[in-house]
C-alpha cells in the first residue's frame, strides 16, 4: 500500500477491504477525491458500491484499509462522528424519518451544530428561542432552495417519491458537509425527473462548494455529470477514467454485458 500525500485531497481511500464471513464484498478499493470533484461510482448489481459507502460513513467497520478525510484517518469512528466531520450521505432506498414533518427532517440534520445546550432547552432560556428561530429560518431557506417550502408541515411519508428524494438531499446538505455521498439518487425516477435531478446536483455542487461521490445505475446521469468515473465489479475497481474512456473500456462492457460483448460492439 503506497503512501499518497496529496494535500488537495479531501477524501483518500486506500486498500479498503471488507469481508462478510468468507465473502469478499470490497477488495483493495482505492480512491482519491480532490476538492470540488464530482465523481461517479458505477458497477453491476452486487458489485459492492453501497458497501463502499457504508465503509466510508462508518456503518460497517472495514476489514482492512484506510479512509482519510482531510488527511485524518476516520477508520473506527462512530458514524455520527464521521457525519460531524463533514461526510453526509443519502440512501439508496430513501431513509427519511417518515412520521416527522419535512421541516423536522431537515432540522434534525442541524442537531450536531445546534447553537444551544441541553439545559437551554430544558429551561427555555432566551438563547433557545433565538437559536431555534434562526434554525427554522435557515431550514426554511434550505427548503426554499429545493422548492419544498410549501410542504414543510407535511409528514415525510406522505410525500411523492421525487419530493422525498429532494428532502433527503436537502437533509444531507443541512448536515453542513464538504463531502456528499449520493447513493442512486435517480433510482425510480422518470426521464424528466432525472434531468431535473442532474441540474440539481450540478447546482448544489457549485452552490455549496461540495465534493460529491455518486453511485448510479442510470448511465445517462453518470455520463452526464461526473467528471471521472470508477467502475466496480465483484468488489474490485476494474476501470477508472473520464466518461468517454469508460464507455470505450472493454472490461466495463464485459462487466455489464458479459464476455464477448466487447468484441461485438
Amino acid at each position: 500500500m503506497e503512501k499518497i500525500e496529496n494535500t488537495s485531497a479531501v477524501l483518500q481511500i486506500q486498500g479498503l477491504t471488507k469481508y462478510f464471513g468468507g465473502l469478499c464484498a470490497v477488495k483493495s478499493f482505492d480512491m482519491t477525491l480532490n476538492k470540488g470533484d464530482l465523481a461517479g461510482l458505477i458497477g453491476p448489481n452486487g458489485a459492492g458500491k453501497t458497501t463502499v459507502f457504508n465503509l466510508i460513513t462508518g456503518l460497517y467497520a472495514p476489514t482492512d484499509g484506510e479512509v482519510k478525510l482531510d488527511n485524518e484517518s476516520i477508520v473506527g469512528f462512530e458514524p455520527f462522528e464521521i457525519t460531524r466531520l463533514g461526510i453526509a450521505r443519502t440512501f439508496q432506498n430513501i431513509r427519511l424519518f417518515p412520521n416527522l414533518t419535512v421541516l423536522d427532517n431537515v432540522r434534525i440534520a442541524y442537531h450536531a451544530h445546534i447553537g444551544y445546550s441541553f439545559s437551554d432547552s430544558i429551561f427555555r432560556t432566551p438563547r433557545f428561542g433565538k437559536e431555534e428561530k434562526a434554525l427554522i429560518e435557515r431550514a426554511q431557506e434550505f427548503l426554499g432552495i429545493f422548492q419544498l417550502e410549501g410542504i414543510q408541515d407535511e409528514l415525510a411519508k406522505n410525500l411523492p417519491y421525487g419530493e422525498q428524494r429532494r428532502v433527503e438531499i436537502a437533509r444531507a446538505l443541512a448536515c453542513n458537509p464538504h463531502v456528499l455521498l449520493l447513493d442512486e439518487p435517480a433510482a425510480g425516477m422518470n426521464p424528466r425527473e432525472i434531468i431535473n435531478l442532474m441540474e440539481l446536483i450540478h447546482f448544489i455542487h457549485d452552490r455549496f462548494n461540495l465534493t460529491i461521490l455518486l453511485i448510479e445505475h442510470q448511465m445517462r446521469v453518470v455520463m452526464g455529470i461526473c467528471e471521472n468515473i470508477s467502475v466496480m465489479d465483484f468488489g474490485e475497481v476494474i476501470a477508472r477514467g473520464t466518461p468517454k474512456e469508460i464507455q470505450d473500456n472493454p472490461k466495463v462492457v464485459e462487466a455489464y454485458l458479459g464476455k464477448g460483448a466487447a468484441n461485438v460492439s
Binding site: 460513513t57 462508518g58 456503518l59 473506527g76 469512528f77 462512530e78 455520527f80 457525519t83 460531524r84 453526509a88 450521505r89 440512501f91 431513509r95 427519511l96 424519518f97 417518515p98 412520521n99 416527522l100 423536522d104 432540522r107 434534525i108 440534520a109 442541524y110 442537531h111 450536531a112 445546534i114 444551544y116 441541553f118 432547552s121 430544558i122 429551561f123 427555555r124 433557545f128 431555534e132 428561530k133 434554525l135 427554522i136 429560518e137 426554511q140 429545493f146 422548492q147 417550502e149 410549501g150 414543510q152 408541515d153 411523492p160 417519491y161 421525487g162 419530493e163 428524494r165 429532494r166 437533509r171 444531507a172 448536515c175 425516477m189 422518470n190 424528466r192 425527473e193 431535473n196 440539481l200
Partner: protein
Amino acid sequence: MGIGFIFGSLLKIGALLGYLYGLLWVMGHPKKWVKIVGVIAAFGIIQLALTDFGGFKILNNFDQGLLFQACAMTMVALGLNLIYGFNGQFSLGQWGFYGIGAYCAADITFRWVNGDSRGLLVVGLGTILAGLAIWGIGRLLKRFRGIPVLSSFTFYIIGVLVAGGAAVLLGNLINPLLAPLLGTVAAPGVLNSGVAMQVVFFFAVIFSGVFAAEVSFLFGLPVLSLGSDYFGIATLGFTIVVNTLMVNSDTILPFPEMKGGRGMIGIPKLTTWFWAFFFLVLVIILLRNLVRSSTGRAIMSVREDETAAKAMGIDIAGNKLLAFVIGSFFAGIGGAVYAHYIGFLSPGTFDFMLGFNPLIIVVFGGLGSITGTIAASFGWIFFLEGLLRVLLSQLGTEAPTWRFVLYPITLLLLMLIRPQGLLGNVEWGFLKSEKFGLGKKREPKPTTDIPAASS
C-alpha cells in the same frame, strides 16, 4: 345509585378532561402573567373542589384518591411515553423504576419522622456524589475511542459504588448532629414538623427521582445496546428483580423498616393536591421542553430510523440512554408521589403484571402524544378504578374482576379502530410545537421547474 352515579361519574371524567385541556391551553398562552395566573387558578379550582364545606365536597375522598393516583400514573406514563413513544424503545422496566422511586422516597420520610435523618442524608448525598461520579467518568471516557460498553459500565459501577459508600459514611457522621433537632415520634423536634417536613418531602421526591434515574443509567448502559425486543425482555427482568428485592427488603437488603413482603406501613401521607399538581406540572413542562427541542427531535429520529439518524450525525446510544434516564426520573417522581398519598407500600403493587398498565395507557393515548398520555391516564384511572369498579360491585362481590375482561376488550377494539391511539398525534395548547411566528409560508410558489413525481 344506578343511572345517577354513572351520569355523575361520566360528567366528572368529562369535566376533568376539559380541565386538562384548559390547563394545557393556559400553560401555552403567549403572555407570561396569564400563564402564571392561569396555572394558579387551575390549582385553585381543584383545591376548592377538594375543600370541605361543612360536610359537602364536590370531589369526595374517593375521588381525591383517584386524582392523586391519576397524577402519579400520568408521570409514570409520560416517562414511558418518552422511552417508548418518542424514542421507540419498548420498555417494561418503567414499573420497576416507579417502585424504586416509591420505596426510596418512603424510606426517606419514614426514617425522618422516626428521628433518623440518614435516609435523606445518604440518598441525597449518594445521588449527588453518584451523579458527579457519572459525569466525571463520562468526561474522562470521552477522551478515549472505542471503549467497549461493558468496560465503561464497569468504571461507572465502581464510581457509583464508591460514591454510595462515601454517602453512607458521611450520613452516619452527620446523623448524630441532626438527631436532637429531629426528636422522636412521641416528641417531634424542630425539623420534624410543618414547613420543614414539606421541604424534606420535596427533596425526598426529587432525590428518589434522581436515584431511579441513576439506577436506570447503570441498567440502561449495557442493556440499551440490545435490540428492541431483547431490550423489552431485559427490562421485564429488571422489574421482576426489583420486585423480588422488595419482597426480601428486610432479609437480603438491610432495610427492616420496609418489612419485605408484609408491606411498608407508617409512611407519612404528605402528598397534598399542591404537591401532586406541582410535580405533575413540573413533569409536563420538563417533558415538553425536552421533546420540543433539538434533543427531542434527535430522540424521535432514533425511533424513526436508526441508520438514517446515524448518518445525520446523531449519537444513537447517547440519545437512547438520555430518554431512558429521563423517563425513569419521571417514574421515580411518580412513585414518590404515590407512596406518600397511599401511605402503605406493598411489593404486590409493583408486580410486573401491573407494570403493563402504563404501557397500555401510553398505547391507548397514542404513542408520541403527550396530551394523549395525560388524558388517557386520567381517563383510565377514573373510568376503571372509579366508575367500573363501583358499578360492577353493584352486581355482586366478584363482579369487579370483570373489569379486567372489559378493558382488554376495549383495548382490542381501540387497536382495531384507531391503531394510532385515542388522540393520535393531536397535542393541546402548551404541548404543540412552537413556530416562533414562522409557520407555513402563505404565498405558494409555483413549482413548475421541478415537477412532483408522478408516482
